[in-house]
């Protein structure tokens, strides 16, 4: 039986190629998109893991804010291995009239413990940083030289120190492990920072110890020893297993997005797979009827057809895997030096296996029903003139196969995603969109039927178009579904991107301050206010700030407390704390009440409402923070809803006035100034108080805009893959209907239709198809954008018509152009040869 099925399948392959291209192309595209995304993810993840110690700078990193490590602490660390110490802070680098914010870092003789610093020209790091002829050496990223219009050998000043730029940093091994940076890197010797005079009590300085464990030493025992010797531990501890949390988070999100787009392509392509399988079976219907007349049973027929389909699916999946496996090589070559790690590329077996599983499940979900129709072809069909597709009765086995495959597809999607919750939403949203577009397709058919029969005679072309949309077997529903899904993704993502861009270009600058000034010492505050105001600043807001670390939530140590994922960032490192007698001017208190202005009791705290929710705390609960080794426990007095997008003076934690008494606080200030006074304000404050660091909001926004633009480009390119799958389905539908179209065009010509009539009919047909898909996609795309903007990005969703209309117009043009190109042969068909052939 199996042998016979196999032989029949082999012979059946000769039975025609209908549906072959569609099945192979749709599968290949979807599987390639998923395989590329997963392979790239696996390659990069392995590279990050291989280079983890170099990216962190050691086996472990200990980080203190405000104070250096004590000799006692350092002596203990040395028991376990070699150390490298450094200090980091944000300072202003100046050259003549130019100045820029820079992230200065001191490095000792032991740095780097792993990897190497690459300089241009290639010089030994420690010797170029040493003091020569009374001046300290320094090396910087090219961006710093560009901002200050310098070249190597030129001088810059940092605080009171004059530094000579000896070389440009090409590669700093542990830079990628750092968080978002506001300025280019400047590496100096410890003595140079001391000479700058910028390190004052309350200055925001991070002190780091990097530890290279002695041979035989392991991280966990070291961590354990630290916990036993120092309780509580004043520092933040990281080890090489978590060397690049922000890069890994970025990779998680990018992979999730790309995989979900790949899956959307596979879903859209699923329609093509189903259409292709239908065409495949239809072409073999006469042979199937003949085989049945000769005594073949349903099982044999089904096995033979399934084997033929499996061969095509295998080709499609293999092509997809080949493209997917090759993609990381192309992407890594394109990214070149922009990657922080060296990626050793390989064929990623696990990623490819997962992608193949997606392809296989998609085949089973979408092709099972069309293939089952093969078994339903009655032998008596042969005696009829036309081979009409048989009606397929409901079957539990088929239902279980389709539903089971669809469930496995959804489960696999959730299982491989870094963010399971988001993946579940994608599955739910995908299923809902699928249902909505299927409904939209049915509505188009129903409307076309109703309108077509009411239309006046003079609209013949339109009526012909409508009848093509509602005739039995018309691909309208599948095309609306597949094109609509692709277009809705494009509409949704374009809206998100444009809204984000608008937020950065218009909304944020309208309410954001012009500058942030940091590290204002208590004795500088008055002078700062005066300098800024005299230079033209029209709004100055100052607040004390000190960094602190949350150690307990409701008296439970942070390590054991349950913290929601979106609030996790608040317990991962130091947070800015402030005190205030009065609520901030724009405070939106949503729970509890602000303390009296003269409150002098035990510490109270006003919390950001979202963080409170993530921590699971409410009014009256306690939060404990560690400030310079001193634990402060405060009761939650009020919750505030904060508009972070204003980039104003916002603090997650505002403590009651006496809570930080005695701590070496400094001030932070925001300054609003008219556009023509910006330079004057910056210059006046910098000249008068050279130790202050200034962050220009316009610079930060420009950097953000560049990131958003880059991401937007990638997002649009990815969404186009889904749209390409939709176009494939459309092309397949046009190709499948080609014979019918030629016949109709010939008959219409015989009956007296001119080519212009036929052209108008085709144009109407595809315009209606494009418009229907586009309008449905606009609604669902807006819903996608609303969900992403409101629930993921927490922005106000505003319906911007242009991205929607542009995508809609593009979609309609694409469909009409595809339709005209695809049916050109039918329009040109000459009647005589065709009639002779019949």
């Amino acid at each position: 039986m199996t042998g016979l099925a196999f032989r029949l399948a082999l012979r059946g392959v000769r039975g025609g190629r209908s549906g072959w291209f569609t099945i192979i192309a749709c599968l290949a595209l979807g599987v390639a998109a998923i395989a590329a995304s997963l392979s790239l993810d696996q390659s990069l993840r392995r590279a990050l893991s291989d280079d983890a110690r170099s990216l962190l700078g050691g086996d472990a990193e200990l980080r203190l804010t405000y104070r250096p490590f004590t000799d006692d602490e350092l002596a203990f660390f040395r028991l376990y291995g070699d150390l490298s110490q450094s200090a980091e802070m944000r300072v202003m680098a100046r050259s003549g009239p130019r100045q820029t914010l820079t992230e200065i870092k001191t490095v000792d003789q032991a740095y780097p413990l792993f990897g190497a610093v690459d300089l241009a020209p290639a010089l030994p790091l420690q010797s170029v940083l040493a003091k020569q002829d009374g001046k300290w050496g320094a090396v910087a990223e090219q961006e710093l030289l560009d901002r200050l219009d310098l070249k190597t050998g030129d001088e810059i000043t940092v605080g009171d120190a004059t530094l000579i730029l000896k070389a440009v940093i090409l590669r700093e091994p542990d830079r990628a492990g750092a968080n978002f940076s506001l300025g280019p890197r400047l590496l100096v010797a410890p003595g140079a920072l001391t000479a700058s005079g910028l390190v004052q009590p309350g200055s925001l300085v991070h002190y780091l110890v990097l530890e290279r464990l002695a041979p035989g030493r392991q991280i966990d025992p070291f961590k354990q020893a630290l916990a036993e010797r120092f309780d509580p531990q004043p520092w933040l501890f990281r080890d090489s297993r978590d060397a690049t949390p922000s890069l890994k988070r970025l990779l998680d999100r990018t992979t999730l997005f790309l995989t979900l787009v790949g899956l959307t392509s596979l879903l859209v392509g699923g329609i093509g797979i189903a259409d292709g399988a239908s065409a495949f079976v239809d072409q073999r219907m006469a042979d199937i009827a003949r085989l049945k007349c000769l005594g073949a049973d349903n099982g044999l027929i089904l096995a033979s057809i399934a084997l033929q389909f499996a061969a095509l699916a295998a080709i499609g999946i293999a092509l997809g895997l080949a493209f997917g496996a090759a993609a990381p090589f192309a992407v890594i070559a394109w990214l070149g030096d922009r990657l922080p790690v060296a990626v050793h590329l390989a064929v990623e077996g696990t990623a490819l296996a997962k992608s193949a599983a997606f392809g296989l499940l998609a085949c089973m979900t979408f092709a099972a029903t069309p293939l089952a129709r093969a078994a339903a072809v009655p032998g008596g069909q042969l005696l009829r003139e036309k081979m009409a597709p048989p009606n397929l009765p409901f079957g539990w086995a088929r239902f279980a196969l389709v539903a089971g495959s669809a469930f496995c597809l959804a489960a696999l999607t959730v299982a491989i995603s870094a963010d399971h919750r988001l993946a579940v939403w994608f599955v739910v949203g995908g299923a809902a969109s699928f249902g909505l577009f299927a409904l939209a397709g049915k509505m188009v058919v129903s409307l076309a039927r109703s309108l077509g029969r009411r239309l006046a005679t003079r609209h013949l072309s339109l009526r012909l178009a409508l009848s093509s949309l509602y005739r039995p077997g018309a691909p309208t529903e599948g095309v609306v579904l597949s094109l609509g899904l692709g277009l809705s993704l494009l509409v949704g993502l374009s809206l998100v991107e444009v809204t984000l861009g608008r937020e950065i270009d218009d909304q944020i600058p309208a309410k954001a301050p012009s500058f942030f000034f940091i590290d204002i010492q208590a004795d500088q505050a008055e002078q700062f206010d005066r300098l800024a105001r005299d230079a033209g600043a029209d709004q100055i807001t100052r607040a004390v700030m000190i960094r602190g670390r949350i150690t307990r939530i409701k008296d439970v140590p942070v390590a054991k407390a349950k913290v929601a994922e979106d609030a996790n960032w608040a317990v991962k490192g130091d947070r800015g704390l402030t005190v205030a007698a009065q609520p901030p001017a724009d405070a939106n208190i949503v729970a509890g009440a602000w303390w009296p202005a003269d409150y002098d009791g035990p510490p109270l705290v006003s919390l950001d409402a979202n963080i409170a929710k993530g921590f699971g705390v409410g009014i009256g609960d306690s939060i404990t923070v560690d400030v310079l080794g001193r634990e402060i426990t405060a009761k939650v007095a009020s919750l505030r809803r904060i508009d972070w997008a204003s980039l104003g003076m916002n603090f997650t934690f505002v403590l009651s006035p006496n809570a930080l008494a005695g701590a070496p606080v400094s001030d932070i200030a925001t300054v609003h100034a008219p556009g023509d006074k910006l330079a004057a304000v910056e210059r006046a404050v910098s000249d008068g108080l050279p130790s202050l660091s200034v962050i220009r909001i316009a610079d930060a926004l420009a950097q953000l805009r560049r990131v958003v633009d880059g991401i937007g480009l990638a997002i649009r390119a990815a969404a186009l893959v889904a749209l390409l799958a939709g176009a494939l389905v459309l092309a397949a539908a046009i190709s499948a209907g080609q014979r019918r179209r030629i016949k109709e065009a010939v008959l219409l010509k015989v009956l007296g239709a001119a080519r212009a009539d036929l052209l108008r009919a085709v144009l109407w047909e595809f315009l209606i198809l494009g418009l229907a898909s586009g309008v449905a996609a606009a609604f669902i795309g807006c819903a996608i954008a609303y969900a992403v903007l409101t629930f993921v990005l927490k922005l106000d969703a505003v319906l911007l018509p242009w991205p929607v209309l542009a995508t809609l117009g593009g979609g309609i043009t694409l469909v009409a152009a595809c339709g005209l190109l695809g049916t050109f042969r039918a329009l040109e068909a000459r009647p005589a040869p065709y009639l002779r052939g019949e």
Binding site: T457, L460, S467, P472, R740, E744, V750, G752, E838
Partner: protein, 235 residues
């Protein structure tokens, strides 16, 4: 060129030749055909398979162009007419019935019949199509698609479509070739009845001598040449 009305046969072929390109070189399909069919006259065209009957019909329908000679139908010389002009000519003057029915699979019976009326921009085309379908006994099946109709019913739809515009000339290419005897007889009765009602000229291609005998005249085509032809009485 348009002939004066009084002198017009419905179909006039003068020294018409048709040569088509075949895989083994040019093939002479029709040679020196001279034929005239008077208005309201019925002409049976008989001959063995491959003798060129269908090609002659296509020449007269403007679906094929003569290699040489002159084709004048309903007073219209086909020389120099574009494809679109020929299509408009068919719309206004000809009805054609094929052996293979050639209905539009994507349209209901009603829509199929309405097509020539709609192409001509006739008001109330659907109403007229409905009347035509009732005339051929298919009033109850107007919303059926061709795939849902029997062969006989499909050919009746084709007849209704051919006569919807009350054409000056009806061309029928073996209209009963795909039907059983009983259905074939019914269709032919209907065809001659409609032809008489409309006053159309009829060119009927058939293999059936009995059917051909029902026409006013019979001509025989043999190897692309008219083998026997009676003189034409031009009305």
């Amino acid at each position: 060129m348009t002939l004066p009305i009084a002198a017009q046969p419905s179909i006039l072929l003068e020294n018409v030749c048709l040569t088509l390109a075949g895989p083994a070189g040019p093939v002479n399909i029709l040679t020196n055909i001279d034929l005239a069919v008077a208005p309201a006259q019925s002409l049976g065209l008989v001959g063995p398979s491959g003798s060129g009957k269908s090609s002659l019909l296509m020449l007269i329908a403007g679906l094929e162009r003569a290699t040489s000679g002159r084709v004048v139908v309903a007073g219209q010389d086909f020389a120099g007419l574009s494809e679109d002009a020929l299509a408009r000519f068919r719309r206004d003057h000809l009805g054609i019935v094929f052996q293979a029915f050639h209905l539009m699979a994507s349209m209901t019976a009603l829509e199929n019949v309405a097509i020539p009326l709609e192409l001509a921009g006739r008001p109330e085309s659907l109403g007229e199509a409905r009347r035509q379908l009732e005339r051929v006994g298919l009033g109850a099946r107007i919303d059926h698609y061709p795939g849902q109709l029997s062969g006989g019913e499909q050919q009746r739809v084709a007849l209704a479509r051919a006569f919807a515009m009350r054409p000056q000339i009806l061309l029928a290419d073996e209209p009963t070739g795909n039907l059983d005897q009983q259905n074939g007889r019914l269709i032919m009765d209907l065809l001659f009845e409609l032809q008489r009602e409309a006053g159309s000229s009829l060119l009927l291609i058939t293999h059936d001598p009995a059917l051909a005998e029902r026409c006013n005249r019979v001509v025989k085509l043999q190897d692309g040449r008219l083998a026997a032809s009676e003189p034409v009485a031009v009305a």
